[in-house]
Symmetry: C2
């Protein structure tokens, strides 16, 4: 019998919640012909300051595909495909970086900006509805908690893998 644990409950709930949010997101964005991943790219190009990516690192210049790959935790090849869809739809445009001609930087078009602006109120409406009833302090603690988890996952990679070695070494 596995024991109750707040910590495991939290992690499993985060998983579940993220899943549900993604499902709902997919349903909504489907109406404008996008997937949640494509949508996230638009949010990045809109410089949404609430994205964890922008909390980790500041960006002066427009983003490029490899930075999006980093943030979304997928391959560059995958980003190429996602970007092509957004280009086709005229939501973003691409231009070459004059300082480094390997790089292509990405920017929302007017149409892209308009779409983000149009959807932002209903996005925030849902988000505020979901999270209402907690104090600002509680929410801040909550956010710190999430950010700590993320930092550890990113910066203490080796420590985490050491836990898993227990599993693999004495297999069977």
């Amino acid at each position: 019998m596995i024991e109750k644990s707040i910590e495991e409950s939290i992690v499993l709930s985060i998983f579940d919640l993220s899943n549900q949010l993604k499902k709902i997101g997919d349903e909504v964005y489907q109406k404008v012909g996008l997937t949640t991943q494509q949508w996230l790219i638009l949010l990045h190009l809109a410089n949404n300051p609430n994205l964890p990516f922008f909390k980790r690192e500041k960006h002066e210049k427009d983003l490029m595909a490899s930075e999006l790959a980093d943030s979304l935790n997928v391959t560059r090849a995958n980003i190429t495909n996602l970007i092509n869809v957004l280009l086709d739809k005229g939501l973003i445009r691409q231009y070459e970086d004059h300082d480094d001609r390997r790089k292509k930087r990405l920017k929302l078009t007017k149409k892209g900006v308009a779409l983000v602006n149009k959807t932002q109120p209903s996005r925030l409406g849902v988000i505020n509805f979901l999270t209402e009833g907690f104090t600002k302090t509680e929410k801040q603690t909550f956010l710190q908690f999430l950010e700590q988890c993320m930092n550890k996952l990113i910066n203490e990679d080796e420590k985490i893998k050491s836990f898993h070695k227990l599993l693999v070494d004495r297999k069977g």
Copy 2:
């Protein structure tokens, strides 16, 4: 320019964190030939009390495929595939419900139980490491927060869709 919002930061962080956790999970479970989804099924069949599913509803009898589909938020057809892999690996077994012959109930085999037990310490090790440094009270508040979000997503479906109608109705 999109404004800073704790609430949006939280939601985007949950998304990001879940993603990272899934990636790490996939890496680890790959070593025993499983995916994160297959792993989650094992956790369900082990009656892990920390799964949101078991907090929402109590289950006396062994689970069946359609209940897993509910919990994982995927189609039954998908569960059939996932289950077949686990059956092939001898980690679970299936038996017919005598009261309702449409139903097939699922159970961990000895091998399945052994695998869950073997991996639980390293899973909990990582989880405790990630979440350390917060008080029990803070963690409880956090969990309540997550559970509130989930409840609203599940029970107040219509309210949420009403936000999105803003988006679709005045399209363009």
